[in-house]
């Protein structure tokens, strides 16, 4: 009996494999492109050429060799700009998501496990924080702090730590009620070490899932901020600013908008899929 219930989810995991490997493939590709951008990008992403403006992508008529995904209205190479854009997208997403994760998870763990006064203060703060509309909040923050990489990262952390705090608090509460926590306490463990060595490993799969999801969200937020011209300085190519620029030319140069949009979409989707996949991989109970 026990054996059949054990094997059932395992075989289902095999069916999910593609849903894990495809997103992973995309993210790895993106990371490689970002790291090796100067060598991989076929052109200088900033070089303008007014004779080559609005070239269509390679599969259409009237292209120039070497401009695979066409050029924008200033004659800059779309593919090269996208590759450099991946750099910024990934830097923002990894840094912001990691900081958000650490900040929010620590608060969630403390609130869920220590309860009492800690929980009251942290939960109130989360409630108040969440009553601000997030995007407006981000735009306001960047407007106040000024544009730049660190403002964008700070904005993401400040908007989204509540997601971690809330979810991890709830999971910690569930774990803290389990008898194994009592057993650890009777076994002489201090409260803080019980939290770190007994409870944390049990909420870690959720933390990892949230972290990868957050990476996708950070990419979107960065794109939104670029879109409204509040992100990194407008010279650096970002997917959001490319989409914003492409918007004006959508009827006669749709590729300027479409390719960065697809990259954005695939990236966000991949991160959220990876989150689910990682959760299953890291959880011995689900495996």
């Amino acid at each position: 009996m026990a054996d059949t219930t054990l094997t059932a989810p395992r075989s289902r995991n095999r069916g999910l494999n593609l849903r894990f490997w495809l997103p992973l493939f995309w993210v790895v590709l993106l990371i490689l492109a970002a790291v090796f951008a100067p060598w991989v990008a076929p052109r200088d992403p900033l070089a303008q050429d007014l004779f080559l403006e609005r070239l269509p992508p390679f599969f259409m008529k009237g292209t120039e060799p070497g401009y695979w995904l066409g050029t924008d209205s200033l004659g800059r190479d779309v593919l090269s700009r996208m590759i450099y854009g991946a750099r910024i997208a990934l830097i923002v997403s990894f840094t912001a998501a990691t900081l958000t994760c650490i900040f929010g998870s620590v608060l969630g763990l403390v609130a869920g496990y220590f309860g009492g006064w800690w929980d009251t203060v942290i939960s109130r703060l989360v409630d108040i924080w969440m009553s601000f509309p997030p995007v407006l909040f981000a735009v306001l923050l960047v407007a106040v702090m000024g544009t730049g990489l660190w403002s964008v990262i700070a904005a993401i952390v400040l908007i989204d730590w509540t997601r971690f705090a809330r979810v991890i608090r709830a999971e910690t509460l569930v774990q803290a009620r389990m008898d194994y926590v009592d057993s650890a306490r009777i076994g002489g463990a201090r409260r803080i070490s019980t939290l770190v060595s007994e409870i944390l490993p049990n909420v870690l799969p959720s933390i990892i899932a949230l972290l990868t999801l957050e990476m996708g969200i950070a990419v979107i937020v960065e794109a939104i901020l670029s879109f409204v011209n509040l992100s990194i300085s407008s010279d650096d190519p970002t997917w959001g600013s490319m989409i914003a620029e492409g918007r004006g030319a959508i009827y006669f140069a749709w590729w300027v908008l479409l390719f960065p949009l697809i990259a954005l979409f695939l990236t966000v989707l991949s991160f959220s899929q990876l989150g689910e996949g990682m959760k299953q991989r890291f959880d011995p109970v689900l495996q």
Binding site: L6, G115, M178, D182, R185, I186, E198, D283, V285
Partner: protein, 289 residues
């Protein structure tokens, strides 16, 4: 020396933040080598007594009056750190629910062995050896494979055996067993109960055995405390309680246990009227005082 109890609870009152008393003037003793059963309906406060002894009361619940003596140590007078150290050396717990009593992300081996190393200061080899010995004793085959397993890879009965082995491993003076068989099915319950009784007799460990089943009380204990709404209603030798219950609630509990009630009579649960009546009486007493 011989008559000094392993556990001596004196007029213990435990209070929920806000003032509600979950235990009131509870006194009970467990002598060395003795099994003391603790019975009562759900919510009577049975687990609360065990938790107060082991020092794992939730943060909003505190012992407010009375004393707990564990092997001559006055637990309530100690600082949290010394209390924890003292208790962890002397007492262990067999918990109610084997599903949640083992950490799901840690392997069985370290969960048994680590406390032996960290608290009792044993060498790793000695601790491993002891873990194997006890797993053998609780009739687990493939001890090496089990030590390498995660909890979800074992059945409920196996997990409870692991927990029993783990509780007995450091040769504690006192074991608190909090309804260790309720989560298991009937045939497994019997095996587990027999195992606890055998190990208890072999080692002479004092046991505080929480249950709500008078049948289990009769099988395992020498003395019994009947708890109702956080108070001790009756405290007597198990034999005497079955022969001549002093309290109507005890009588009703016995009647509610099929194999110990008169076989000609039909099985009757504790009458709700009696419970309501007792609660009313207690409320009146409280209002008077």
């Amino acid at each position: 020396m011989t008559d000094r109890p392993t556990l001596d609870i004196l007029q213990l009152t435990v209070t929920l933040r806000g003032g509600r008393k979950l235990l009131r003037d509870v006194s009970l003793k467990v002598q060395p080598g003795e099994v003391r059963a603790l019975v009562g309906e759900s919510g009577a406060g049975k687990s609360m007594i065990g938790k107060a002894v082991l020092g794992i009361l939730p943060p909003n619940i505190k012992p407010t009056e009375g004393e707990i003596l564990l092997d001559t140590h006055h637990l309530n007078a100690m600082t949290p750190v010394t209390r924890r150290r003292t208790v962890s050396k002397i007492a262990s717990l067999i918990p109610q629910d084997p599903l949640t009593a083992l950490n799901p992300v840690r392997k069985i081996g370290p969960q048994i062995v680590d406390p032996l190393i960290h608290i009792h200061g044993w060498s790793r080899d000695k601790a491993r050896e002891r873990a194997r010995e006890l797993l053998d004793r609780v009739q687990i085959r493939n001890t090496d494979r089990v030590l390498q397993s995660y909890p979800h890879e074992l059945s409920g009965g196996m997990r409870q055996r692991v927990l029993i082995a783990s509780a007995f491993a450091p040769s504690p003076r006192l074991i608190v067993a909090d309804e260790p068989t309720t989560a298991l099915d009937v045939t497994v319950q019997k095996q587990i109960l027999r195992l606890i009784r055998e190990l208890q007799q072999e080692t002479g460990t004092a046991v505080l055995f929480v249950t709500h089943d008078m049948g289990v009380v009769a099988k395992i204990s020498q003395r019994v405390s009947v708890l109702f709404a956080g108070r001790v209603m009756e405290d007597a030798a198990t034999e005497d309680v079955f022969r001549n219950p002093q309290h109507p609630y005890t009588e009703a509990l016995i009647a509610a246990t099929p194999s110990y009630s008169d076989l000609n009579r039909s099985f009757s649960p504790v009458p709700p009227a009696l419970i309501a009546d007792l609660h009313a009486k207690i409320a009146a007493e409280e209002a008077a005082s």
